[in-house]
């Protein structure tokens, strides 16, 4: 036997040394808000990322993503200069030319077709400075933009806003250590917030009972005291049975219900039919476990709830979220240490009055995210500003690609030449979050300030800077645009009473950041509603909305996306689920992430056997809107007849994989407006056998 030794790959390793500086930053990926220490070499380039042991929330612990990010910062995939497409080929242009082109097109379409002929899809616009600049630009032009909301949290935010008057988390994750019970529904934080997952383990160690409700036996479920494996999309029925039990036995907090809530009778009425026996039939969760959970929730107080995308990005999300949050409310689990709702939604209200009324331009039209597709297709919309990757991250992404290709003018502000940027006419190089200062909020309801650790790569600019330059070119008043991240925050702080006490200075000197709301007086509120006053007009929790219909249980097969489809033709349910090594489409340019995670579809071995599918076989998955090929992974952790795949991979990345979103119709939950990326009917067939 001879062996051939290629020396170049492994021998010439250069270890990250001790030279350069170790600079603090805050991870701006998943809203976990983990503290980082970044090794920057003498030339100013980022070399390595470590966890910050001085940050009280992660104490040096991080998930793999911020380390992978370093590999995506420099290299061939990063856009370094503004580009213009000429005869289908990108050519380097100057910033001056790029901005002139954008200005010319913007004004042309605004004048001829009105301000609603231009829209933005801006989920990756940047840090707090860029977000503020975008909102000021929108106020001055009437530009309507779509952020992360429709693909991530709109329903959750809307339901909570209707019930409590505030859509953000009501309690910090850190409160879990004081809870008697932590209910995790459709959520796998062991993968999606791995760097902060020790709070769940710590809570359990201190005696909090951790209960996980999920169709899959997830990494989180493995770390729980109780795992209830539920039929996909039936969480609402389980929640209603829990309400039924709690109400029927009088286990709710009667004084809280009378003094602090509206609509209890209607709520009780709506759940009368949902006995644990009926819920067992619907959900597959044995009756005694439903009863046990109801009893635990009633006796282990205070209690907390942490819902995830598994109950938010589904076609019956509105009802499901409402019943679980109502359950927490009637148990009195709000506004106390160890009580409330954990979420990565960290809205803190808008700065008001930065642009005086006389200069505000209203959008001529507003369209729902669902209606955006046809408006892009039928010529109503002429121009699109992209900061994100909707051609992979939005549902029915094949249709989105078609629609974007048909527009007159597309601008992409981006780190890499991704699926969406390739369809653009002008590409603008964006700064990375490690290159931008700003406020980063976290799942602990704190605001942390981060400084840039490296200078912007090549000619990259932040959206904060671009909108200011663009405004100047377009003849809009530049004075409304802050000229630095610090000024931006100062303006926001002084125009939003809820954060008036949080200065950049204060964030800088407070390890772990400052809790909000925090008014001028400087007193932080660790959690919302501590005084029992809610932000609704009635100042009470609205257990049922204005429309009691919303409490009606909506079967996932009768809900948007599945309604009208034949079960014979599409007998399986498809969902996308997350892994710890990826975040949106960003991490797929890291060769570590590529080596760790391969796209696959998870199938129960019994289902696979019925279809003659073996481990590793390529299969085709089809829905009415698209089809996709993937290798099969057989696992007992998923229910029969349900398929699970990952949403991250794209055709233009090293993966070269058709994005899973091609399979999902562009439909939204009827109540909350969230797109759906779970529980969609599909079919599957074997393509070829592995190893042949």
């Amino acid at each position: 036997m001879t062996s051939y030794v290629r020396t170049e790959v492994y021998r010439n390793r250069r270890l990250p040394g001790d030279e350069g500086k170790l600079l603090p930053s805050i991870c701006s990926l998943c809203n976990g808000g983990c503290g980082l220490l970044v090794r920057v070499n003498d030339a100013g380039y980022v070399e390595a990322v470590y966890g910050d042991t001085g940050n009280p929330y992660n104490q040096g612990k991080i998930c793999p993503k911020p380390m992978e990010i370093v590999q995506t910062l420099y290299g061939a995939q990063r856009v370094d200069h503004p580009l213009k497409k000429v005869n289908g080929i990108f050519q380097r242009i100057s910033w001056e030319e790029a901005l002139s082109l954008v200005t010319e097109k913007y004004l042309e379409h605004w004048q001829t077709s009105g301000n609603s002929a231009i829209v933005g899809i801006t989920s990756k616009i940047g840090g707090s400075h860029s977000k503020l600049a975008l909102s000021i630009f929108s106020e001055l032009t009437g530009l309507v933009t779509y952020g992360t909301g429709p693909i991530c949290y709109d329903t959750e935010e809307n339901v909570r806003k209707a019930m409590f008057g505030n859509g953000s988390a009501s309690a910090p994750l850190a409160d879990a250590v004081e809870a008697g019970i932590l209910l995790i529904v459709g959520n796998n934080p062991a993968q999606t917030k791995a760097g902060q997952f020790h709070w769940v383990q710590e809570a359990r160690y201190r005696g909090t009972k951790v209960v996980v409700i999920d169709p899959r036996y997830t990494e989180t479920a493995r770390q729980a005291d109780r795992f209830l494996q539920i039929r996909p999309g039936t969480d609402g029925a389980l929640g209603m049975a829990l309400l039924h039990e709690v109400i029927a036995h009088g286990w709710y907090d009667a004084s809280f219900v009378t003094e602090r809530t509206n609509g209890f009778e209607k709520l009780a009425q709506a759940v009368t039919e949902f006995s644990p026996v009926r819920a067992e039939e619907m959900t597959g969760v044995p009756r005694r476990f439903i009863e046990e959970l109801a009893w635990d929730l009633s006796t282990r107080k205070p209690g907390m709830l942490w819902e995830g995308r598994g109950v938010v990005c589904v076609n019956n999300a509105g009802n499901t979220l409402r019943v679980f949050e109502a359950l927490m409310a009637i148990l009195g689990n709000v506004g106390k240490p160890g009580a409330g709702i954990i979420s990565h939604i960290n809205g803190y209200g808008r700065a008001k009055g930065l642009v005086p009324g006389a200069d505000v331009v209203k959008p001529e039209r507003k369209r729902s995210a669902e209606a955006l597709y046809s408006a892009l297709e039928n010529g109503e919309i002429k121009m699109l500003l992209i900061a994100g990757n909707p051609c992979a991250n939005w549902p029915d992404c094949g249709r989105m690609q078609q629609a974007v290709s048909g527009l007159d003018f597309v601008v992409s502000h981006t780190l890499v030449l991704d699926d969406s940027a390739r369809l653009a006419d002008v590409v603008l190089p964006a700064t990375h979050w490690l290159e931008e200062a700003g406020m980063q909020a976290s799942v602990h309801r704190v605001m942390q300030w981060k400084e840039p650790v490296a200078r912007p790569y090549a000619e990259a600019k932040s959206a904060g800077e671009i909108f200011r330059l663009l405004a100047a070119k377009m003849g809009l008043p530049v004075k409304y645009f802050p000229d630095s991240p610090e000024t931006a925050w100062e303006w926001e702080r002084t125009h939003n009473g809820d954060i008036a006490g949080i200065t950049v200075e204060r964030m800088r000197r407070t390890a772990g950041g400052v809790h909000y709301p925090c008014p001028e007086s400087g007193e932080e509120a660790v959690r919302l509603f501590q005084n029992g006053v809610f932000s609704t007009p009635s100042e009470k929790v609205e257990l049922v909305g204005s429309d009691v219909q919303e409490l009606n249980y909506l079967d996932l097969l009768a809900a948007p996306g599945n309604r009208g489809l034949s079960r014979q033709e599409y007998p399986y349910l498809l969902s996308t689920v997350k892994v710890a090594a990826h975040y949106h489409t960003e991490c797929q340019y890291s060769d570590w992430a590529v080596a760790l995670e391969k796209p696959c579809v998870e199938i129960h071995p019994d289902t696979a056997a019925n279809l003659s599918i073996r481990e590793g076989d390529r299969v085709r998955i089809e829905t009415p809107v698209g089809s996709l090929e993937l290798p099969a992974r057989l696992t007992w952790t998923v229910p029969r007849d349900c398929l699970f795949t990952q949403p991250y991979f794209t055709q233009t990345s090293p993966y070269g994989q058709v994005p899973a979103n091609i399979l999902f119709p562009a439909v939204t939950d009827p109540e909350g407006g969230n797109f759906v990326n779970k529980n969609i009917m599909c079919r599957i067939s074997a393509l070829e056998v592995a190893g042949t």
Partner: protein, 205 residues
């Protein structure tokens, strides 16, 4: 501010300098969430690209009377009596300070015998045909830091510290598992002077 008790064992952050002969690591598969933070931290720290790695996390599941699903974060165990060291024809594998089993790339001829004889899959084959394995981040220990993998592990599934204390910690964790009806076992808990002892202890399910 609350203090999270992540690990009952001492967490080695900027220690004044380790007595390397007494340190150890506990890898607890029951706590592992398969996030691969350790894998990536190891590759970052040791400048390994792509699929080259000294640490690999394996997805495992076993269906018996109940479904056991765990992630096995596998790496060199730094045995007191290493088979790789005995098998290596060139002396590329040798003891380093404090009983750490070191692999020297420049002496490695890529025969891969070490990877074949290691009973724990601790030695990995690199893309250049040579082998590679965990160095216990000896360069970090020398600076008083803990290894890269334990420094980032968010769940205490990889914990670094005094080996003695880790053995006790493992005992507590095994008791806790037993109370949940799970049978675990500790591997490498033998005598470091004789046979069967490993610097890196593995709590397996």
């Amino acid at each position: 501010m609350m203090r999270v008790k992540q690990n009952s064992a001492p967490v080695g952050v900027r220690h004044a300098g380790w007595d390397v002969s007494r340190v150890g690591m506990l890898v607890d598969v029951s706590r592992c969430i398969g996030c691969n933070s350790c894998t990536v931290a190891c590759r970052q720290e040791n400048a390994l690209q792509g699929s080259d790695g000294w640490l690999k996390v394996w997805r495992r599941e076993r269906l018996g009377t109940q479904l056991i699903r765990y992630d096995y974060s596998q790496s060199c165990r730094h045995c007191a009596d290493p088979q790789c060291l005995q098998a290596c024809p060139t002396g590329a594998i040798a003891y380093g300070a404090g009983g750490v089993v070191r692999h020297h790339e420049e002496k490695c001829i890529g025969c891969q015998v070490c990877a074949m004889v290691c009973p724990y899959g601790g030695v990995k084959v690199m893309t250049n045909g040579k082998t590679g394995k965990c160095s216990l981040c000896a360069h970090r220990l020398a600076k008083g830091e803990e290894p890269a993998c334990t420094a980032v592990c968010p769940t205490g599934a990889r914990t670094f510290g005094e080996r003695e204390a880790l053995v006790r910690e493992a005992g507590e964790r095994l008791d806790a598992l037993r109370r949940q009806g799970l049978r675990g076992r500790l591997e490498g808990n033998g005598d470091l002077e004789g046979k069967g002892g490993h610097k890196i202890l593995f709590l397996m399910l």
